[in-house]
C-alpha cells in the first residue's frame, strides 16, 4: 500500500535539530574496581530519538542509571538544558523532567493499570493527605489527573485493561503500562531501557509506533537502549555504541551500521 502517506514518513528521515537537551561529558563509573563506564560522552539533541547500543555488559544500563541519578559518576558531568545536574538524586531527576522505564519492568504489581499510570502524576499533583482523606477538596485534582491519564490510556490503546491488576497482564502489555506511567510524568526526556526486549514482531511494531508518536506528538526527546537493530536503525536519529564501558562509535544510524568496530563488537557477520 504505497501511497503518498507512507512516503511522507520516509522524507522525514533526516531531521534538523536545534540545541542539546542532555550533554554527557567524560563520565566514569566504578563498582569496587570494576570500571563500568570510562570517559563516556555524548550529546542528545532536543526532540530527537537517540539510541544507545552495544553488547551485553557494555555499560548501557549503567549509563542510563547515571543519567537517572541511581549511580553517581566518579568523574565527568551531566548537563540538562545546559545546567549541571551530575549529583541529583533519582527523585530530583524525575522532578526535572526525566522519566524512564526499566529492562525488567518496574511496575507496581499490586495496583491496577490505571493506578500505576496515576502514580506517574504524583510529580504534577499539589495536594495533601488531609484534603485527600476528606476527598471532596481533592476530588477535582483527582479528576483532572484521571482525565490526563485517560488520554494516555487511549493513546496507548490499553482501555480494556484499565482496571486489571498489572501483575496479571502479559509481558508486552506490562511494558506498555510502564511506558504509560513514564508518559504520565509529562517528561522532557524519556529514557527507555530495552523497551522491545522479549516482544514479538507485532508488539515491537506497536512499541515502535508509540515511541515515534510520543516523539512526534509531544516533542519528547527519547533516549533508548535496544538490541533489535531493525528498530534502532529505523527510528533513531542518532546512535551511540558502547563496548566495555567505552564509546566506540557515534552518529546517524547509517554511519554506525557500517562502522567496522561496531560490526566486530556487536553486530557480527550477517
Amino acid at each position: 500500500m504505497d501511497t503518498e502517506a507512507s512516503q511522507a514518513h520516509d522524507t522525514e528521515r533526516v531531521r534538523e535539530f536545534e540545541g542539546f537537551i542532555l550533554e554527557v561529558d567524560g563520565v566514569f563509573v566504578n563498582f569496587g574496581g570494576v570500571k563500568a563506564l570510562q570517559d563516556v560522552g555524548f550529546s542528545v539533541y532536543e526532540g530527537e530519538i537517540f539510541s544507545i547500543i552495544g553488547p551485553n555488559g557494555a555499560g548501557k544500563t549503567s549509563m542510563l542509571n547515571v543519567i537517572s541519578g541511581f549511580y553517581k559518576a566518579s568523574e565527568g558531568t551531566i548537563r540538562f538544558e545546559g545546567v549541571d545536574r551530575t549529583s541529583a538524586s533519582p527523585e530530583q531527576v524525575a522532578r526535572m523532567g526525566f522519566a524512564r522505564t526499566f529492562q525488567n519492568i518496574a511496575l507496581f504489581k499490586g495496583m491496577s493499570t490505571l493506578d500505576n499510570i496515576m502514580t506517574g502524576r504524583i510529580v504534577k499533583v499539589k495536594s495533601n493527605f488531609l484534603s485527600e482523606a476528606l476527598y471532596y477538596p481533592a476530588r477535582d485534582q483527582e479528576v483532572a489527573q484521571r482525565e490526563f491519564v485517560e488520554g494516555i490510556i487511549d493513546f496507548l490503546e490499553i482501555q480494556s485493561i484499565r482496571k486489571t491488576p498489572v501483575g496479571k497482564l502479559p509481558y508486552g502489555l506490562q511494558k506498555r503500562v510502564e511506558l504509560g506511567r513514564a508518559l504520565a510524568m509529562e517528561p522532557k526526556i524519556l529514557l527507555l531501557d530495552e523497551p522491545m526486549a522479549g516482544m514479538n514482531l507485532e508488539e515491537k511494531e506497536d512499541m515502535a509506533r508509540f515511541v515515534l508518536d510520543v516523539n512526534d506528538e509531544f516533542g519528547t526527546t527519547v533516549v533508548l537502549i535496544e538490541h533489535d537493530m531493525g528498530v534502532v536503525m529505523d527510528i533513531s536519529d542518532h546512535v551511540v555504541v558502547l563496548d566495555h564501558g567505552e564509546r566506540i562509535a557515534y552518529g546517524p544510524p547509517d554511519e554506525v551500521r557500517t562502522n567496522d568496530d561496531v560490526i566486530r563488537a556487536y553486530l557480527g557477520e550477517h
Partner: protein
C-alpha cells in the same frame, strides 16, 4: 495456508506429550485451552507466539511450576516417558531429568557463577567427581563462564547470566531442558552464540529441548518443529522449515512482507491481521 501433516514429524519417540491441557489461574482466568504438543526424544521443538499467548504457561505446566503462581491444570494430561507427571513436584521432575530455565535468567545474584552452576547439581547423588566433570563440561560449552567463575552473578552481563542459567540447568544432567526466552535482552552476536550452544548441546549431549521464543526467526532456524500459540491455543504447527516458508508466519512473525522488510517507521495504527482462531 497449506494443510501440513498432522503428526510431529521428527526423529525419535515422544519424550514429553502434552494432551489437551487447560490451565486456569486464580480459579477464574482461563489461560490455556486445549493445548496439545509432542516433544520427540533428542529434538529441538519451538513454541512460538505473542506475549500472553501461553508459551511460558505451557512450560510451567510441564515443569509443574504453576501451582506457585496460583495456576492449575484443570483438564488434560502431561506425559513424560510414559508417566503422568501432573502430581509430581518440580524437584521430582528435575530428578527425573526435566529442568526449566526460566525467563529473565533468575540467577542467584549473591552467589558466584560457579556456585550458581553447582546449585544446579543439588539433586544429584552421583558424587563429587561426576559433578566436577560436568562443571568442566559446562565450561567447555561456555568458555566465558570459566573466565567469570568467581564473579558474583549479580554483576555479570545479561548474556553471561543467561549462560549461567542454562549451565546451571545442565548441571542437573537433564534429558529435557525447557528453555524460556533464551534470547531475551541479548545483543545480536550473543543471541547467535547462545543458539549455537543450544544446538551443540542437543547434538553432542543428546539433550531434548523445548524452547519458548519470541525471536521466531532464530527459533525456527535452530529447531526441527514448531508450534504457534495464540490466545492459549495451538493455532498452527509444522516442520520448522515449512513454517519458515509459510506466508502467514513470514508476515506475522518474521516481519517480511512480500520481498521487503517493513520499516518500523511505517507501522499503521490499525491492524488487519488474520487470526487463525478468534
Amino acid at each position: 495456508m497449506n494443510e501440513s501433516t498432522q503428526s510431529s514429524s521428527t526423529n525419535g519417540e515422544a519424550i514429553i506429550s502434552v494432551n489437551n491441557i487447560e490451565v486456569i489461574y486464580d480459579r477464574v482466568i482461563l489461560v490455556l485451552k486445549g493445548v496439545s504438543l509432542e516433544v520427540p526424544e533428542r529434538g529441538i521443538i519451538a513454541l512460538l507466539g505473542a506475549n500472553g499467548a501461553g508459551k511460558t504457561t505451557t512450560l510451567k505446566a510441564i515443569s509443574n511450576l504453576l501451582r506457585a503462581e496460583r495456576g492449575e491444570v484443570t483438564k488434560g494430561s502431561i506425559i513424560y516417558r510414559g508417566e503422568r507427571v501432573d502430581a509430581l513436584t518440580p524437584s521430582d521432575l528435575v530428578v527425573r531429568g526435566v529442568t526449566q530455565v526460566m525467563e529473565g535468567r533468575h540467577c542467584f545474584e549473591h552467589l558466584t557463577v560457579e556456585e550458581n552452576l553447582l546449585t544446579g547439581a543439588y539433586t544429584r547423588r552421583d558424587g563429587r567427581a561426576a559433578i566436577q566433570a560436568d562443571l568442566e563440561l559446562v565450561y567447555s560449552y561456555f568458555p566465558r563462564l570459566k573466565e567469570r567463575r568467581t564473579g558474583v552473578a549479580g554483576y555479570i552481563s545479561g548474556g553471561e547470566q543467561q549462560m549461567t542459567a542454562v549451565g546451571r540447568a545442565l548441571m542437573a544432567k537433564p534429558s529435557v531442558i525447557l528453555l524460556d526466552e533464551p534470547s531475551m535482552g541479548l545483543a545480536p552476536t550473543l543471541v547467535e552464540e547462545i543458539f549455537e550452544i543450544i544446538k551443540r548441546l542437543n547434538e553432542n549431549e543428546h539433550v531434548t529441548i523445548l524452547l519458548a521464543e519470541q525471536n521466531t526467526n532464530m527459533a525456527l532456524r535452530y529447531s526441527q518443529y514448531g508450534y504457534i500459540l495464540e490466545n492459549g491455543r495451538v493455532v498452527m504447527d509444522g516442520n520448522a522449515s515449512d513454517l519458515l516458508q509459510n506466508e502467514d508466519v513470514k508476515e506475522f512473525y518474521l516481519g517480511v512482507s512480500g520481498e521487503n522488510r517493513k520499516s518500523f517507521r511505517n507501522v499503521k495504527h490499525y491492524r488487519r491481521r488474520k487470526r487463525w482462531l478468534a
